[in-house]
């Protein structure tokens, strides 16, 4: 499989602020890749480097097999970008802006444009200043989805969309994937990422901390188990990988490293299982684990 985006060891500083410190990112062609990180972790900076708007201080960056700084225009013919905060010209209508972006990218599918305007319930005759935040976002989304491109770069594209439109957005991304297009989706809405993305990269303070398929990532984390047993549990606490064990009579709640699940289940069946729920970790837990590590680390840094 070819790579749509490869980034390794990317550094970028603004004066004394170090925005990116050795970021790695690999996006396979044809996948929907989730790009996660807390506010200020460097997601938008990375995306601007990928678009050739910022120049990398060091590190290797390739987008569609080319250098985004030197070959920006060639790459951009095959890219559609949606920023997180869309600003429009106050005296241009939404329809004019959609067509402008489409033509500047080198083509717009008129049928798809009409269909998308309908699905997103966008009024294309309104002027830039009269759109709400969500509607400005829709203008950029319609322009992106109606463009004939290979790679979509979406930077928190659904901020401001209502839940119905969020659903339309998700189905649009799914259609793009079905057509074989690649999508890099930076998002804070974890359910959206969980629903859409084949693989995710989580970044923190300008570095990639996790990358892989959701299944891979889940494997690295803990599953919650709660069970009602026939008799008192035995020897659970001694098992490796068991955390936060709570025992109340015959009821047990615990967290277990997912790769140690086997031994725990065996131990539970030894005592006789009446009922069992096991929840795989949500992306939110994954995310929070890294986020809280971040908070702990910075708290540690403050202490002398």
């Amino acid at each position: 499989m070819t790579k749509a985006i490869t980034v390794s060891g990317l550094h970028k500083s603004f004066g004394r602020t170090r925005a990116l410190e050795g970021l790695d990112l690999d996006v396979e062609s044809g996948e929907v890749h989730g790009f996660l990180g807390p506010n200020g972790s460097g997601k938008s900076t990375t995306i601007r480097v990928l678009l050739g708007l910022l120049r990398a201080d060091s590190g290797a960056v390739q987008v569609l097999g080319r250098d985004p700084w030197t070959d920006a225009v060639e790459i951009h013919r095959r890219i559609a970008y949606v920023p997180g905060d869309v600003t429009l010209w106050r005296n241009l209508s939404g329809g004019e802006v959609i067509d402008l972006y489409g033509r500047l990218r080198g083509g717009l599918d008129a049928r798809r444009r009409a269909e998308l305007i309908d699905r997103f319930e966008l009024d294309p005759t309104k002027k830039g200043r009269t759109y709400s935040k969500g509607n400005r976002q829709k203008v950029a989304l319609v322009a992106a989805f109606a463009s004939d491109v290979d790679l979509l770069i979406l930077d928190e594209p659904t901020s401001g969309l209502d839940p119905l439109m969020e659903e339309v957005f998700q189905s649009c991304v799914a259609e793009e994937r079905d057509r074989g297009r690649t999508v890099l989706l930076s998002s804070h809405i974890l359910s959206e990422v969980e629903e859409l993305c084949d693989r995710v990269s989580i970044i923190r303070k300008g570095r990639t901390v996790e990358s892989g398929s959701l299944a891979d990532l889940r494997h690295l984390t803990r599953t919650s188990v709660s069970a009602e047993l026939a008799g008192p549990p035995d020897g659970l606490a001694a098992l490796p990988g068991v955390h936060d064990l709570e025992v109340r009579g015959n009821r047990v709640r615990l967290q277990v490293d997912t790769d140690r699940l086997d031994a725990v289940l065996r131990s539970l069946t030894d005592s006789g299982v009446r009922s069992l729920t096991s929840t795989p970790p949500t992306l939110e837990e994954l995310f929070l684990r890294h986020y809280q590590k971040d908070a702990t680390a910075s708290a540690g840094a403050v202490a002398p």
Binding site: L53, L54, D99, L104, G106, P124
Partner: protein, 540 residues
Amino acid sequence: MSSTSSAFSAFAVRPAAARQLAGTGTLLRLALRRDRLLIPVWIAVNALMVLSMPGTLDSLYGTPAERADLVRQMETNSSLRAMTGPVFGDSLGALTAWRAGVYAAALAAVMSLLIVVRHTRDEEESGRQELVASGTVGRRAPLTAALLTAAVADAALALLLAAGLSGQGATGAVAFALGVAGTGMLFATAAAVLAQLTESARLARGLTAGLLGAAFVLRAAGDSATADGSSPLTWLSPLGWQENLRPFAAERWWVLLLIAGAALLQGAVAYELTGRRDLGMSFLPTRPGPATGRLGTAGALAWRLQRGGLLGWSIGFLLAGLVYGGMTEGAADLVGDNEQARRIIERMGGQAQLTDAFVASMTGMLGLVAALYVVGAVLRLTGEETSGRAEPVLACAVGRLRWAAGHLVIAFGGAVWILLLAGAGYALAYGKDPGGVLGACLVQVPAVWVIGGAAVLLHGLLPRAAVAAAWGAAGAVLLLGWVGPALDLPRSVLDLSPFGHLPKVPGAEMSWGPLVVLCLIAAVLVAAGLAALRRRDMTT
């Protein structure tokens, strides 16, 4: 229930006017905090210009005889009067009021209109006002705070001017200072009205500046026609009121009442309008646009964004050309038929020479103003970039040079276009020597381009500072051109302005050398600016 109703009645008991103004003090402090650099710089430039005048004039016209000679010269030379207004006395104070009055008032007007639009329509357009207005802020508080901010600035300027000029006579100094500050408030309130009528801060600023330009042209036309400021054209212009106050020369205090009355009237209109409209909306409704668009290139987008502004400048320059052209014929006419005036004119090179000098100085003035157009048009690049609208365009298949090129063609080509229009209007109204008049306009182009080139370089190198620095450069050149010669500044300072190197055609010898050099400098500045733009990070 009873507690709610008592809360409501407590609310109703508060006087309506006080509720409408709630939060004004906080907003005023916010505005002064945001303008803590802007206002002092404007005041300092204005005061320095005025307060350096008496000393300079003293060194140039030290003896009463020299001053009397100057006064007589002004009575005969209508082209000089068009530049500065008539002179009403031969004291140093009266000469200062003559030489600096119009420009000090115009600078105060620009400062005031910028302050008012910045704290009213700009705030609404950007959406910041919405959050502010959700606090305990009355409907009329933002406008009140903006006008008070302008009033604070104008009052500080007046204090400085009155104190600085008091050596020339306290009465005259107070009259001069009040005239300047009053003109400032006149345009502050005009801007307040226009900020209610338009939805765009850019348009509100443009329209108010257009009013100021019209006031300048009217006053110049009136003053070239009469030697004592009594022309109806002069009285139509607020800048004419300032001069007819006659500081240091038997002040006519009642003119201040005219200024104050007009300012109060405009303020009342703005208050009435602001109380009646929705936040962010204007009285000129937004019409829906087309559902599909034909814009397809970065150049077409640039044209779409700039064509309105260029249209405004075109109208202004055409009208200015027509007015100045109409004045030219009479420029060398003698006022009265006295022998001494005839001798002065002969000494200055005869009638034809005087007319040529008038054409040269009027077109020179238009050239200086065209520098403001080119800076504004180039800085659209900066505006597009910092507002975030450039980013999605540059994320399409549009290189940075292509993106910039559209705006630059409009800026540099537009400068030629508006000067051509002014020249055409001038030649039409003057009716003689169309070639000489058009040439005098076009000869300004290289100097205008140098200023535009400086703005391109600033945008390429220092995008965050470009707006302030480029306007500062254009303003400095404008001041040098207007009052530099009268200030008796050293040649090396005057030479800093590209306009100082232009041949004074018609009349003076045409010399191509400086024009070629200025064009080359402009080309180098643009090329360096574009090279820097290609290499740097885009600001977000």
